[in-house]
């Protein structure tokens, strides 16, 4: 028998000592400090967000309105040579409407009329005639868009001459401000009063559809294979590391990849939503794979056991139990990836989606541009009228993003299983 050594003697703990009190006080202080630091961080980010939204709205909301001038045109007296009974696109084109508009406007508004009206004001007159040829035989008031300078002056940001013109036109009571529907229905243009977001919006939509259709099935299948079927080996380790790396690769590199493979090698149409979507799918897929694997991993093994234990085959286990339970997580990851793709500009510049495209794309192979690229292009324009258009486009992009995130939350709640 060995003798147990006597344990070293210690005084019993004094829970009421000063040192102990101080330690407790210090602990509470640390907790308070941490709380305030967190609160400060939240407030700081909230104020940044508020600043962003306020400036965006302040600039952008004006982009949704436009100043219009009411022209009271006496068509029979005008130099317009058109037969009301035979209005066709061709006859309208041959009628030299721009010059007629100019003449009429000069008569109505004064010699400086061409600086007051948008260069494309005649389009409104053409559309009015096309809609109702009968107006050619009477005097009709048609609202046409004002020039950028006048538009800015009416909104309080113009030059002194234009301010004076605004005051004069206001006296004539021909100036009005209306919701700029053409901003939502038109495409890119050279004149800021005539540009619209529809072309870019549709381009974004088509690109996103291509991205989703390609990256979701491939991403989910990859995640399922790696989690459920692949045996763990150095080979799967390499795949895993590669996928994690791919998710972190700068997007411009995917653009170069798309350029060299899809355009130079495969000769797919340049500037098209198809190629944009394929390039962004390359970028989104790793995000979906990673989110999908995590979601699949978090399905409790007991559910797999339960299904296997009553004789479900591995495919039945995967598709009837694992996948439905992992779906909310997969969807969340997918939407995050898609939101990132929606805001992506750089890779799309590489594959030529920065072209000036004045007509909305009809399909995925037509030349198109997307919202962020459109914003980028407009922010580069010299004309001052593009500033508010840029902000307005940003608001549209943010609304698009918000709608996507809202969809994600809705889907997640819908598929979420309550345990």
């Amino acid at each position: 028998m060995s003798v147990t050594p006597t344990p070293p003697q210690r005084l019993p703990t004094d829970w009421k000592s000063d040192a102990m009190r101080k330690r407790i006080a210090g602990r509470y202080a640390a907790e308070r400090r941490f709380k305030y630091a967190g609160l400060f961080a939240v407030l700081l980010s909230a104020s940044f967000l508020a600043f962003l939204l306020v400036t965006m709205m302040g600039n952008g909301l004006r982009g949704f309105t436009r100043t219009e001038i009411a022209l009271k045109i006496d068509f029979p007296a005008s130099p317009l040579l058109l037969d009301p009974a035979a209005i066709t696109d061709e006859s309208l084109n041959q009628a030299n409407l721009p010059m007629v508009t100019d003449t009429v406007a000069k008569k109505l508004l004064g010699a400086d009329a061409d600086t007051l009206l948008s260069p494309t004001a005649w389009v409104s007159i053409r559309d009015a005639i096309k809609a109702d040829p009968k107006i050619l035989s009477r005097t009709e008031t048609i609202s046409v868009p004002a020039s950028t300078g006048l538009d800015l002056a009416a909104k309080g940001q113009g030059s002194p001459e234009m301010e004076a013109a605004v005051a004069r036109l206001k006296q004539q009571d021909v100036l009005s401000t209306g919701f700029n529907t053409s901003f939502l229905t038109a495409s890119d243009g050279t004149d800021p009063t005539q540009v619209g977001i529809w072309g870019a919006f549709k381009g974004s939509l088509l690109t996103m559809i291509v991205t989703l259709v390609l990256s979701f099935p491939i991403g989910v299948a990859t995640a399922l294979y790696l989690e459920e079927y692949a045996r763990k080996s150095w080979w799967t380790d390499i795949i895993e590391v590669s996928i994690n790396n791919l998710a972190a690769v700068p997007s411009i590199i995917f653009g170069l990849l798309g350029l060299s493979i899809f355009l130079n090698l495969a000769h797919l149409p340049r500037s098209a939503a198809l190629v944009g979507g394929m390039t962004l799918a390359l970028m989104t897929m790793p995000v979906i794979v990673i989110a999908g694997r995590n979601a699949i991993k978090s399905v409790p093994p007991s559910i797999r056991d339960a299904a296997l234990g009553i004789g479900a085959s591995p495919v039945q286990v995967v598709f009837q139990h694992v996948l439905p339970l992992a779906l909310p997580g997969i969807l969340t990851g997918t939407i995050i990836g898609m939101a990132r793709a929606l805001g992506e500009t750089a890779p799309l510049l590489m594959i030529g989606m920065r072209a000036f495209i004045a007509t909305p794309p009809g399909g995925i192979t037509d030349p198109a541009t997307v919202l962020p690229v459109q914003i980028f292009l407009w922010s580069d324009e010299v004309s001052k009228g593009f500033v508010e258009k840029t902000s307005a486009a940003i608001i549209v992009l943010l609304a698009f993003l918000l709608a996507m995130n809202g969809l994600a939350i809705y889907l997640r709640n819908k598929f979420e299983t309550r345990w």
């Binding site: 045996r231 409790p300 559910i303 056991d305 339960a306 009553i310 004789g311 479900a312 309550r418």
Partner: protein, 265 residues
């Protein structure tokens, strides 16, 4: 490793439902089961007892090839169901698991309705001829699992909303629904309170004779209460196997005696 004596393997049952001969299980390099031979009969409940890590659960999971899901696991020896080797290439593992059902330690109902939990097995095996037939299967299975009276009015509520004991009976009902021949239970009461445990034990009594039942338990009283045959495992060996009352009152092996008297475990 204690060599088996004639006495220990004097467990031949006239008409064994399942029998194992010299079964060895390896996890990678580590041997978890060191040559177990045992017969499981149709008419009794067989209990596997033993201290933690003795291999009783591992052995149970070889009986319906649930160990197949563990990549590193390797099984040697022969296990037969009605004389047919279940590890033979001709054996379809999906059908095997339908014939040899399993109830797990932690109640694991699917996050679906009570009805769907029961109906899932019959559906994937194509056992029901239409909706009415499925209703019959669900009611019959829930009645056998002793759960029908408690849930008949809320069959379409989630199975996970039930209490722990009810969930475990639901899992038993789910196993019964595919008409298995053998039911393996892996410590089915270890996550339950005493009242729920008593209900499960009662249920096991009622199910005896209809199915061959094998239950793993670390609760010796439970083994004594529910089983007619008891096998004592220690460190991967089957130390002793016999009639339950004999094992508890008159163990032949020193190790069995030490365990059931609480010397270790």
């Amino acid at each position: 490793m204690t060599p088996m004596t004639e006495e220990q393997i004097n467990l031949t049952i006239d008409n064994p439902k399942m029998s194992a001969r010299d079964v060895k299980v390896f996890y990678g390099e580590k041997q978890a089961i060191k040559g177990v031979s045992i017969d499981v009969g149709m008419d009794h409940v067989t209990a596997f007892i033993g201290p933690s890590g003795c291999g009783k659960s591992t052995f149970l999971r070889t009986l319906n090839r649930m160990n197949d899901t563990v990549a590193s696991a390797r099984v040697e020896g022969e296990i037969t169901l009605d004389g047919e080797n279940i590890y033979a290439p001709s054996m379809d593992v999906v059908q095997l698991r339908a014939r040899v059902g399993m109830v797990f330690q932690k109640p694991n109902p699917f996050p679906k309705s009570i009805y769907e939990n029961i109906a899932y097995g019959p559906r994937i095996h194509g056992l029901a001829a239409g909706k009415a037939d499925m209703d019959v299967i669900v009611e019959k299975s829930l009645r056998r699992a002793g759960l029908w009276e408690e849930v008949k009015d809320r069959l379409h509520d989630s199975g996970t909303a039930l209490s722990g004991g009810q969930q475990q009976r639901l899992c038993i009902g789910r196993a019964i629904a595919v008409e298995p021949e053998v039911i393996l239970m892996d410590e089915p009461c270890s996550a339950l309170d005493p009242i729920a445990t008593a209900k499960i034990e009662e249920l096991i009594h009622e199910l005896r004779g209809r199915y061959a039942i094998v239950i793993v338990t670390h609760n010796m009283q439970q083994a004594a209460r529910v089983s007619q045959r008891t096998a004592f495992f220690h460190l991967g060996d089957l130390v002793e196997y016999g009639v339950t009352s004999d094992i508890f009152t008159n163990p032949r092996q020193e190790r069995t005696k030490d365990y059931i008297t609480g010397r270790y475990g």
